[in-house]
């Protein structure tokens, strides 16, 4: 017979305001096996944990139930507390009377009744618990970083500097990401390339960092400490070892009609290309969709002009399989498609551009060589209107419900830079709110208004009208002055909302990492574990987790690296002992369990059994505890009821259901 203790937490008023906690404790004493019950204001506090330890020792408890918050929050806390008091940690059960009860109910009587039922179910289960011992698994001392933007580069550098091997997998032909497309950075206005390219070089030169560009993660298996990943290295059709990066092939390539991805489609590039001059690696790729050789078989000019003989039209995709202990996701963002925002005339006039396009226009290596000009006729603009929150903070399904966070600052930056370089150009900004929290951020915005004379108008724009003379007419409202505004402009710049890179869904599925309704990766805890995914061994770096600017991204990248290093520093990890186990006498070797196991943890052995005096050799299922993740799929699939999950046995679950239905 078990000797059980029940501990009911008030969680301040979170539980106690809706649930009669004293009543729950009182009722617990009537349950079979319960010899001790008490309630306390904060069970998770040091004092609360001491109460648990004291009761375990004094009353000689063999198991405990903590009625508190979700086990995702504090199961580990209470297991550790029990272990310190000499109890096997798997003799601890949590009855979730906060998320499952007090937070979602208002009526005290009803909620108390439900809390009692949840407590009973947990007591019924713990009565059948048996002490479990975790196993051990090894840790591969190598990290994978998915995405080679500033987030991925920083994470990789930090992990590598701690002495671990890191692979960066980047989809495009070069690392650098969005930051490489920016001209200047706020709030210091230093040149983006000047601070990014040294980091790119550092990453590529680091002896512990290996970069796979033009590559994608194709398959992920395994678990924390021991992931196996297939990486597809797409055929570059250029030999990385032979190419000297001289650039002659790009100059001579006769197909120069493909839109340049790096310049956001504002100008054209050749079919064989490096995205930008400072690309790392400085080895071009052939874009087969636009290459004449690949389309018609005739051409081959790049191969002819290449002195190094690096062009290889026969090159095929290659799959590299590698083992990792930790995976960091740093897949970044893109701007939203403006198809649903045609009132801003983006599709109708080349003089309506996004802010990211303006970065390219302002950049010396951009389509206009850094000259501010209208893309329709090349003329210098005299009036520029910026429209904020295009697709951000949107209440209908056209845009995003969240604030993209970076737009207020970069718009102030653009406005200031234009006023500084072209003092005769008038700049107007339409805004809903100006949001500039951050070190030296509000001062930056005020400089734009006070020193540079940027005209900020509180109000939204209803329509941008293309006029027959090619000029734009911006129709908006000034909410402070309560008047309609019709403003003629030569250029309109849209602060377009950002969204996670569309590939993130595919990657999250491979990693079994959860994502929210906006496709941002979910963190393990919104406040206390912001750089970890709920899936063990997966870490989050940069905008894939939520909108953020460069300083924040770099900070988070470092934090993700620290978490990954903390994992890689361990030689062994304790494995969850709640794994499946097959009853030899019931198993008939049918293979159903092996077919449903997503981890390949089940194999078969011919083994002699003694079935009630009959000795015979049978084919039996055997679970590899190192691979089993305790998902329970096999226990449901097994037709003879031979498979059971330790810690969640069929008997335990039936006992819980019985207790609920009693």
């Amino acid at each position: 017979m078990q000797r059980l203790g029940v501990f009911v937490c008030h969680c301040g008023s979170n539980i106690a305001a809706t649930v009669d906690v004293a009543k729950v404790a009182e009722m617990a004493l009537m349950e079979p096996g319960v010899v001790h019950a008490e309630d306390y204001q904060y069970m998770c506090s040091e004092a609360g944990q001491a109460k648990i330890a004291e009761a375990i020792k004094e009353k000689n408890l063999t198991g405990i139930v903590v009625c508190s918050c979700s086990p995702r929050m504090h199961e580990a806390t209470f297991r550790k507390a029990a272990e310190r008091a000499g109890l096997n940690p798997y003799m601890v059960e949590i009855a979730n009377i906060r998320e499952h009860c007090s937070w979602i109910h208002k009526d005290m009587e009803e909620a108390t009744k439900k809390a009692v039922i949840l407590m009973r179910a947990a007591v019924a289960k713990v009565n059948l618990n048996t002490p479990l011992q975790p196993g051990e698994s090894r840790v591969t001392k190598r990290a994978l970083v998915i995405g080679g933007g500033i987030a991925g580069i920083q994470t990789a550098l930090d992990i590598a500097d701690a002495g671990y091997e890191v692979d960066i997998v980047e989809k495009t032909p070069s690392i650098g990401g969005r930051m490489s497309q920016l001209d200047k950075t706020f709030p210091t206005l230093d040149c983006s390339a000047c601070i990014l390219t040294p980091k790119m070089v550092e990453a590529s030169a680091h002896e512990k960092i290996n970069i796979y560009t033009y590559s994608e993660v194709e398959k992920v298996s395994g678990f924390v400490g021991d992931f196996t990943v297939d990486i597809r290295k797409k055929a570059r059709h250029v030999d990385m070892d032979k190419c000297t990066g001289c650039g002659v092939c790009q100059e001579k390539c006769p197909s120069k009609k493909a839109p340049s991805e790096f310049n956001r489609g504002l100008n054209k590039r050749s079919a064989i290309y490096t995205p930008f001059a400072q690309a790392i690696p400085n080895v071009p790729v052939i874009d087969c969709d636009n290459c004449i050789k690949f389309k018609t078989g005739k051409c081959g000019i790049c191969a002819k002009v290449c002195q190094a003989g690096a062009i290889d039209y026969e090159q095929q995709d290659e799959i590299v399989t590698q083992k990792y202990g930790a995976i960091v996701v740093a897949t970044g963002f893109d701007t939203i498609n403006l198809e649903k925002y045609d009132e801003y005339a983006y599709s109708q006039s080349p003089d309506v551009i996004t802010s990211l396009e303006l970065e390219r226009v302002m950049n010396a290596a951009g389509p206009t060589h850094g000259h501010l000009e209208r893309l329709s006729d090349g003329k210098a603009p005299k009036e520029i209107v910026f429209i904020q929150c295009v697709g951000s903070r949107c209440s209908d399904d056209r845009g995003k419900p969240y604030c993209s966070k970076i737009c207020c600052m970069y718009t102030a930056k653009h406005a200031m830079l234009i006023r500084d370089k072209y003092p005769d150009v008038n700049v107007t900004v339409f805004y809903i709110d100006v949001r500039t929290p951050g070190k030296n951020f509000d001062e930056f915005y005020r400089r734009a208004v006070e020193q540079y004379g940027v005209n900020y108008i509180k109000g939204q724009v209803g329509k941008v009208i293309l006029q027959p003379n090619g000029k734009l007419l911006v129709q908006g409202a000034d909410l402070l002055d309560n008047r309609q505004i019709l403003k003629e402009a030569d250029m309109v710049v849209l602060a377009t909302a950002i969204e996670p890179n569309p590939d993130v869904r595919k990657i999250a599925t491979m990693l079994t990492a959860s994502i929210d309704t906006n496709n941002f990766l979910t963190e393990a805890h919104a406040k206390l574990r912001p750089v970890e995914s709920p899936t063990a061994g997966i870490f989050l770096s940069g905008v894939c987790q939520g909108p953020k600017d460069i300083p924040e991204t770099v900070a988070q990248a470092g934090a993700a690296a620290v978490k990954a290093i903390g994992l890689l520093a361990k030689d062994k990890l304790l494995t969850n002992p709640c794994t499946a186990k097959s009853d030899e006498l019931l198993c008939n070797g049918c293979s159903t369990c092996a077919n449903v196991c997503p981890y390949g943890a089940i194999t078969y052995e011919d083994k002699e059994v003694n079935d009630h005096g009959i000795r015979e050799v049978r084919r039996l299922a055997v679970v590899n505890n190192a691979l089993c993740q305790g998902c329970g799929a096999c226990t449901v699939a097994c037709p003879s009821g031979a498979m059971d999950l330790q810690g969640f046995s069929n008997r335990q679950i039936i006992a819980e259901v019985d207790a609920i239905c009693r």
Partner: protein, 266 residues
């Protein structure tokens, strides 16, 4: 192709040509428009009040008449289309209105939004197909530069009307191409003409229409087409470009305009 047809009261008075050209064109295209019996005025904009069902009943009667025949209901006037489609949505999705309207109507079987409501332009696009229409055109309006004027009632609220993209519609431009002419795209094509404000604040409506006309003219339009009698009224006051109902040009392209013309004048 057989449809129930709801002309609406303006098509019996000021906009009789919108109706006659439509009927003649439909006939030429093999579309049967069966006018529903004893239809009443849709109520203009008034049925959109959320607390009143009395003003929605005429739409419900028309919708139910089409339902009893097992036909989709075709409209011609933008305002009637807007009103009937929105009342239909209420009958489908708003419990309170559906219950009260049905309690009042005492129909054999309650009406719950079953009828499909189609504007004649949608029939041309989705049922006939603009490609087929193009083939049936005998008298293409080659070389004519026509600005589509959508106004607001056909496009918004966009999810409910589900007529076309409210900011960048294409249906009337595609129609113009189908009858052999050249569409002129101008930014004011989906702006309001002023509607009923012309009765109270004439100057405001005039300035709204002037903007539409100037913009269309600036981009090279020689004429405008519309599906709305009220837009026609307001735009004609401005008098800068000629304005036609889309059905008139359709009838012309199909070679049946002449036979209607006398009737219109009569």
């Amino acid at each position: 192709m057989k449809y129930s047809y709801y002309p609406g009261c303006t098509l019996r008075t000021k906009a009789v040509d919108l109706d006659l050209y439509a009927r003649a064109s439909a006939k030429a295209l093999g579309i049967e428009l069966e006018e529903i019996e004893e239809w009443q005025c849709c109520g203009g904009v008034y049925p959109l009040g959320t607390d009143e069902i009395g003003s929605k009943l005429s739409s419900v009667r028309a919708l139910n008449a089409a339902k009893e025949k097992g036909q989709a209901l075709v409209t011609m006037c933008s305002a009637c289309h807007h009103v009937i489609k929105r009342v239909n949505d209420d009958m489908k999705n708003v419990d309170d209105i559906r219950t009260r309207a049905n309690n009042y109507m005492e129909l054999d079987e309650p009406y719950t939004g079953e009828t499909e409501v189609l504007h004649f332009l949608e029939v041309l696009r989705d049922k006939v197909g603009f490609d087929t229409l193009k083939e049936k055109v005998t008298n293409p309006l080659t070389g004519k530069k026509i600005g589509a004027y959508y106004g607001c009632l056909l496009l918004r609220p966009s999810k409910l009307l589900s007529f076309d993209d409210p900011e960048n519609p294409t249906i009337i431009e595609d129609f113009i191409r189908a009858i052999g002419a050249e569409p002129v795209i101008y930014p004011y094509r989906n702006e309001c003409c002023g509607g009923y404000i012309s009765l109270k604040e004439k100057e405001m409506a005039e300035s709204m229409c002037d903007k539409i006309m100037d913009s269309a003219e600036g981009f090279g339009a020689e004429m405008l087409i519309t599906a709305c009698p009220l837009c026609m009224y307001n735009l004609n006051k401005s008098g800068k470009l000629p304005v036609y109902y889309f059905t008139e040009l359709l009838a012309e392209a199909l070679g049946v305009r002449g036979e209607c013309k006398e009737e219109v004048q009569a």
